[in-house]
């Protein structure tokens, strides 16, 4: 009898714990945090898959600049020697107007090298946000040391010291190491408590700064892509003008120009999606932090915003990843 009572008691305890665990997993705030974390994690992975975006774009613009000059070289005096492909990045200077009316020479290699460092810093910030998202997911089950985020912050600070040339993208990148370090501190301090609302609340100012920085970085990239699109159009017009009346060469030109234009358009579409995704994540982060400060976070109206935005972001990122995979499908 005693044994039966003990078994019943165990069953009751087990059932109670199961119900409590069920309730915990059903907690609206916890669900919203988990969905938000998934949305952040997926977005950062996709963004990281496109790392070196800015420096690749810089090189693409330099090559298009080379091509336009090369195609039009035939119209210039014979004494004007072309700058050939191998030397173009280091020997060709484009002129930057100065406030005193003079022009400063800048070569593409210097410009693109600086931008490459900025890409590396932004990549650290993306890893930092992923770590934050993983931490939110893990919070109810295991401890998180935060050490990885701290080390990322240190790396990013070192990289920031290497940036010399001023540019919007590099300036944005330089603002990221500080919030990264603070985010690491916030995670370390609050994880022991396992209170997700406290972690979100403490991390919120720094996560917001990092999301803003990454969003601005994507906006700056879009401006550069529009410039690349203009350059490409000029190059194709210049090539078209010199095209012979041979059908096969015209078809080859058509094939190449269609591919180039479509590839650039696909990149611009992807970045516009990412820019929109970041805005939704910013809104979701703000709503989650506001809800967490309320007396009953589980009843906060803001959770609808979090869940709605997280759901849209997860869908958009999934569609974007499929589009990217579809584009590169032939390489598989």
């Amino acid at each position: 009898m005693k044994t039966t009572k003990a078994v019943l008691a165990h069953v009751l305890i087990f059932m109670t714990l199961s119900v409590l665990a069920g309730c915990a997993s059903q907690s609206p705030y916890l669900k919203a945090s988990g969905d938000f974390a998934t949305a952040v994690d997926n977005s950062m992975s996709t963004l990281r898959g496109m790392k070196d975006l800015n420096s690749q774009l810089c090189q693409q613009r330099a090559r298009l600049d080379y091509l336009f000059h090369r195609l039009e070289q035939r119209k210039l005096p014979e004494s004007d020697k072309p700058v050939y492909w191998a030397a173009y990045a280091t020997k060709f200077d484009y002129q930057v107007p100065q406030s005193d009316g003079t022009f400063k020479n800048q070569n593409w290699k210097t410009h693109c090298t600086q931008i490459h460092t900025a890409d590396a810093i932004v990549d650290k910030a993306l890893v930092g946000l992923s770590a934050y998202a993983s931490a939110l997911k893990k919070i109810s089950t295991e401890d998180f040391s935060g050490a990885d985020v701290q080390s990322l912050a240190n790396d990013a600070n070192t990289l920031a010291g290497e940036i010399i040339a001023p540019s919007r993208a590099t300036d944005i990148a330089k603002t990221l190491p500080n919030p990264l370090g603070q985010l690491a501190g916030a995670l370390l301090k609050n994880y022991a408590g396992h209170k997700i609302a406290e972690v979100v609340g403490t991390a919120d100012p720094d996560v917001t700064k990092i999301l803003d920085g990454v969003g601005n970085y994507i906006d700056a990239l879009l401006s550069e892509e529009k410039d690349a699109a203009g350059q490409m159009s000029e190059v194709l017009n210049a090539a078209d003008e010199g095209l012979p009346r041979n059908s096969m060469e015209i078809l080859q030109f058509f094939n190449l120009s269609s591919r180039w234009t479509d590839d650039l358009q696909a990149k611009m579409d992807a970045q516009q999606t990412l820019a929109a995704v970041l805005k939704k994540l910013q809104a979701a982060e703000a709503a989650l932090a506001t809800a967490g400060k309320q007396e009953k976070p589980d009843a906060a109206a803001e959770l609808k915003t979090v869940l709605g935005n997280a759901s849209v972001v997860i869908g958009d990122i999934e569609a974007l990843n499929k589009a990217i995979q579809g584009k590169g499908g032939s390489n598989k």
Binding site: K75, P77, Y94, H111, R168, S223, D227, A238, E241
Partner: protein, 111 residues
């Protein structure tokens, strides 16, 4: 967004200069040298574009809207210029004015 408007104008100006370079066929060395100068002006517009993309930009700077409106008018004027080899000098002079205006915009918005 003022920065976007400035960039749209600069893109349109460089397109117009490039079309001019593509369309004209110089017949002698003097004309080739003139075309060479126009290509250099095109490079300056590229430099200005890079600068506008990179610079800190105060969208709310006083007087900025007026300068951007002037830039838009100059883009329109550039598109109205003649498109023969005899018109190249006029293009070079107007591009120089445009560059001065962009420097003023950058000084105002960046200051």
């Amino acid at each position: 967004m003022m920065r976007e408007e400035v960039l749209q104008n600069l893109f349109a100006e460089r397109d117009a200069i490039s079309d001019m370079i593509i369309d004209i066929e110089p017949q002698n060395d003097d004309q080739r040298k003139q075309l060479q100068t126009l290509m250099q002006r095109r490079d300056r517009i590229t430099g200005a574009i890079n600068e506008v993309i990179s610079a800190a930009f105060n969208e709310a700077a006083a007087g900025l809207a007026g300068l951007v409106s002037d830039l838009e008018k100059q883009t329109g004027a550039l598109k109205q210029l003649g498109k023969t080899i005899d018109d190249v000098a006029g293009w070079i002079a107007l591009v120089d004015e445009i560059i001065k205006l962009v420097v003023s915009i950058l000084t105002l918005a960046g200051g």
